[in-house]
């Protein structure tokens, strides 16, 4: 049912776009005449009055944006449609389906005798490619990438060179042998063709590999190769294109080519890094304008790409470098919302680009001028495959001598099979002019065939092959805090052992880089206190935040996030304290003053921290501020539960989340014993942090949930729990009797503001708590 409606809508869209175009060709003369006539009427001042045009049609001035939007809409609807057909999306990768759709649309347009739009290289390189590359670069897993950098570079540089010369050379040989039609294809043209077609395409690789969830090592190897071979492709392309007219290449040119390669790749990286650092630096100051934070990320990256393209440096490498460099610093500076925005915008744009590229590839196939030559095309396809396999096998043999984790034949097969070609090759050929390259159309046809072959055949069969060969898949496990601790520990350990051994291995240099980063770079680029936050703590906060958000989103308290062990609580791991003596420790006045002071300062600090996240135009978000609140409440809950259980209460409590630093600071550092059994109740003013932000309904629920649980067993404890978990209100315990009757809700909603105010302004109920001698426990 849905499918039928969808197809109907689709048909309508295509239908609209065609008459839209037909209208274009037909309309302009009429409208212009019309307008001229109107004007003429007015100037001549002989008003032959026409009725006021209530409805007029003027398509011309919205033509371009209209068409673009229509195409984007078509692409997105296609993407939507594929997932409505259940079985199809699991057999055929999306890229294939999109190309088929493009073919259909192109065919349709041809039938309507329209000129189908071809994938304009300019549009492709300037608008469609950057979002995909930025998405890949920003989320590049740095650790795996740097660990395998040597391998990736070998494949990218040496592999691509090998492919280019092998294919180019052999094709030249074939052309010479073939005879009449191909004999005038010279060596340089063939080499140029070889260099264009030999580059593995990141768009196609991403599109196919994303769906098969292969293990991280292979993914980063193939994907990294597809990114880094851009420099090689750029150099070879320009080299052969420059000299194909002249016809010869000298050794000097080759040498310059090598130099050019270094310049192109390193230059691209440097340009990207500079823009990345600028972006990180800018993000340091955006704490008051959170709304435009994502914009900086996008615009700086795009500028990096364009700047690199100005100098014919490798734009792709610039973009990758920019994204990878800026990410750790920007993420430390921006708000959680901006982070989400960046993630979703990047994914959205790259998805749309990706879809458009494949559709246009299909349309261009129908449109573009073709020249079919059986020998050439078939030879190209065969040589590409053979070159890829030989290249991978040969290089792996050399690489395995230097790797600890060797690449097995299965890995090699996947790497070779995953070498897909895509739209970049197509666009590069399209840029060639026909005068310099008389056989350009034939090249075009051959490239399209190779692209179709790799995307369709290899793309479709790679998934069953992966399953057949039982290649390791991506592990979906979350990174646990134990692993993080030990990874850090190992890093330091190995660095230490290297120092003892006396040679500077790569752990030593990595450690030096980290220390440099921590000492100088982070201070410049990260705002405020977070610049000194060590990685372990940052990880820990991130984990906490995730858990808290999960908690809020799961409806507040009823269902705990799965990561949190709901069956083990602090009391299970705390070493048993010696049996409490019933003589409750009396606190000295000085101690109490100290406690109050500490709590007050911590409270202020907490409030300031939260304030800095306010945005002018957006209301304070319960998710952003509320989660912190919830965490604090939960910590207090946990404390309470602990104390209650110490009172021989066999309540099974859900495990509390680990302490956040806010709470750790707010808790007494001085003497935990001060919070003895009695102190829970009254002699110390039970000051809890009430964050003066709007209470989200979820937070109230949490309180209620725990309130109910905590108030079950005994009557006296009921009062304790109600008081304690009375929603973190600042209350002075002087009138405890009255408070007993109030419910948690009331506490939450009524007086938080006033009580907070009171806490901050007045020096504290110094006199009052002396009166509090009423034993709370019976």
């Amino acid at each position: 049912m849905e499918l039928k409606m969808f197809l109907l809508v689709l048909g309508l869209l295509v239908g609209i776009s065609s008459p839209g175009r037909a209208a274009n060709h037909g309309k302009p003369p009429d409208t212009y005449d019309h307008e001229l006539q109107n004007q003429g009427n007015y100037t001549r001042a002989t008003p032959s009055k026409k009725p006021f045009p209530v409805l007029s049609f003027n398509f011309e001035h919205v033509k371009v944006p209209f068409e673009i939007s229509l195409w984007v809409l078509l692409a997105s609807l296609m993407k939507l449609g594929f997932h409505l057909i259940p079985r199809l999306s699991s057999i055929v990768p999306e890229s294939c389906l999109l190309i088929v759709v493009g073919l259909l649309v192109g065919g349709l347009m041809k039938v309507v005798s329209e000129v189908p739009p071809v994938l304009d290289s300019n549009v492709f390189f300037l608008y469609l490619l950057p979002p995909i590359i930025l998405d890949a670069g920003y989320f590049l897993p740095i650790r795996q990438f740097t660990e395998n950098l040597g391998t990736i570079l070998m494949f990218a540089v040496v592999g691509t060179l090998w492919n280019a010369f092998f294919v180019g050379g052999l094709l030249y040989g074939v052309c010479q042998l073939e005879g009449h039609k191909l004999v005038n294809v010279d060596l340089l043209s063939c080499l140029l063709f070889g260099s264009i077609i030999s580059a593995v395409d990141p768009v196609a690789v991403l599109a196919v590999f994303e769906e098969i969830h292969i293990n991280e090592l292979l993914h980063i190897l193939v994907f990294g190769e597809s990114l880094l071979n851009d420099a090689v492709t750029v150099v070879l392309y320009h080299l052969f294109e420059e000299y194909s007219t002249v016809g010869t290449i000298t050794v000097m040119d080759v040498f310059l080519g090598v130099v050019c390669f270094l310049v192109v790749s390193l230059g691209g990286i440097v340009v990207g890094a500079i823009y990345g650092i600028l972006a990180a630096f800018t993000s340091r100051f955006t704490s008051h304008t959170r709304v435009i934070e994502p914009l900086f990320v996008f615009v700086y990256s795009y500028m990096a790409y364009l700047s690199a393209e100005v100098f014919h440096l490798s734009g792709i490498m610039a973009l990758i470098a920019c994204g990878a460099v800026m990410r750790p610093y920007v993420e430390a500076n921006i708000s959680h919302k901006s982070h989400t925005t960046i993630k979703y915008f990047l994914k959205m744009w790259s998805s749309v680009s990706d879809t458009l590229i494949f559709i246009f590839l299909g349309v261009s196939t129908v449109a573009g001028p073709h020249e079919w030559n059986w020998t050439f095309v078939v030879a190209t396809v065969i040589f590409c495959l053979v070159a890829r396999v030989l290249g991978v096998v040969g290089l792996t043999f050399v690489i395995n001598k230097f790797r600890i984790v060797k690449l097995t034949p299965k890995d090699q097969f996947i790497i070779a099979y995953g070498g897909l070609r895509g739209a970049i090759a197509f666009s590069l050929v399209y840029l060639l002019s026909t005068e310099h390259f008389p056989k350009r159309n034939m090249f075009l046809t051959a490239i399209i065939t190779v692209i179709f072959f790799t995307v369709f055949v290899q793309g479709m069969t790679i998934r069953p092959l992966v399953d057949l060969l039982a290649v390791k898949k991506k592990q979906e496990t979350k990174r646990s805090i134990n692993e993080e601790i030990h990874t850090q520990f190992l890093d330091h350990l190995l660095t230490g052992i290297e120092d003892i051994c006396g040679h500077y291995g790569h752990h030593h240099w990595k450690d030096k880089l980290n220390r440099f980063n921590k000492k100088y770079v982070k201070k410049c680029l990260i705002a405020g206190e977070r610049s000194r936050e060590p990685q372990l703590i940052a990880f820990y906060h991130k984990m906490e935040m995730k858990q808290a958000i999960e908690l809020v989103e799961s409806g507040g308290g009823a269902k705990l996030p799965s990561a949190l062990p709901s069956t083990v609580s602090m009391q299970n791991i705390q070493p048993k304290k010696p049996p409490q003596d019933r003589a409750l420790p009396q606190l000295s006045k000085a101690r109490e003053q100290e406690i109050r002071k500490i709590l007050r300062t911590n409270l202020q600090r907490t409030r300031q921290r939260l304030r800095s996240y306010n945005r002018h135009t957006l209301i304070a978000d319960p998710y952003e501020d509320g989660w912190n609140e919830i965490l604090i409440k939960r910590k207090k809950m946990m404390e309470l539960e602990k104390k209650i259980s110490q009172m021989n209460n066999y309540l099974t409590v859900p495990a509390p989340p680990p302490d956040s630093p806010t709470i750790a600071r707010a808790r007494l550092a001085s003497d935990p014993q001060a919070w003895g059994l009695k102190s829970v109740t009254e002699s110390i003013p039970t000051i809890k942090v009430d964050l003066a932000s709007p209470q989200s309904p979820e937070s109230v629920n949490v309180v209620n949930e725990f309130g109910k649980k905590g108030s079950q067993p005994k009557g006296s404890q009921l009062k304790a729990s109600e008081e304690e978990e009375g929603g973190l209100t600042m209350k002075i315990p002087s009138p405890p009797k009255q408070r007993k009757d109030k419910t948690a809700d009331e506490d939450n909603d009524k007086e938080p503001q006033q009580r907070l105010m009171r806490c901050l302004s007045d020096p504290g109920p110094a006199a009052e708590e002396e009166d509090e001698d009423e034993p709370f426990l019976p």
Binding site: D499, V568, S569, A664
Partner: protein
């Protein structure tokens, strides 16, 4: 421990090579380094290791040094710590950081993993009672964050607690409120670190050429 003459001969190198798995050149280089650190004496002391400048900035320095003097790492079933070690012990401890050879069986790989994880476990379990208690784990995290000032010390406790909770829930599962989780045993330790491929991550590249003259 005093069993070497000042000019160790090939035979002794060969026995060492068989025992630890290093090649003869690597042993020679490490011996040079040993002599450099111990100022040409037969035995190495803690202070000798403390003189290494690069080690100063390492947050877990003391634990690393302690590991060299821990009898449990000498593969002789000893306990406790010693004051000074000879070249054989030095080499034995270093052998924990060798990379796995290319063609080894699954069992050998598993054995290597256990050995390396045992080394790590010994580093954490300072009182040698077979478990890493909460206090010991807290100490580990505190040391790791020791260079981060006050911020580090306060959160260290929280992080260690969270980690302990995780281990308990993975290893033991549901626990009643009055049950007590003693500490991380070696088996639990193996379980929680399954995700890290220890045999390939915990290694350093031992050179066949002597470059130690270039370093402090």
């Amino acid at each position: 421990m005093g069993s070497f003459q000042s000019l160790p001969d090939d035979h002794q190198y060969r026995t060492l090579s068989q025992k630890t798995g290093f090649s003869l050149e690597q042993i020679a280089i490490l011996h040079n380094r040993f002599k450099q650190l111990s100022q040409n004496e037969e035995t190495l002391r803690r202070d000798d290791l403390k003189t290494i400048q690069d080690l100063e900035s390492n947050p877990i320095r003391s634990q690393i040094i302690e590991a060299f003097f821990d009898r449990r790492n000498f593969q002789k079933d000893g306990v406790g710590s010693v004051e000074e070690i000879g070249f054989e012990e030095f080499l034995t401890v270093m052998s924990y950081f060798r990379a796995p050879a290319h063609h080894i069986t699954e069992e050998q790989r598993e054995e290597m993993r256990r050995a390396k994880l045992r080394f790590l476990f010994n580093m954490h379990d300072t009182d040698n009672d077979g478990t890493i208690t909460l206090e010991e784990y807290r100490h580990v995290v505190e040391e790791l964050l020791s260079r981060s000032g006050a911020l580090g010390r306060e959160t260290a406790k929280g992080i260690a607690d969270a980690a302990m909770l995780e281990v308990a829930s993975i290893s033991v599962g549901p626990m009643a409120p009055d049950e007590f989780y003693e500490g991380i045993t070696f088996e639990h330790f193996l379980k929680i670190l399954k995700g890290i491929e220890i045999e390939t991550t915990m290694h350093i590249h031992f050179l066949n050429m002597d470059t130690s003259v270039l370093c402090k």
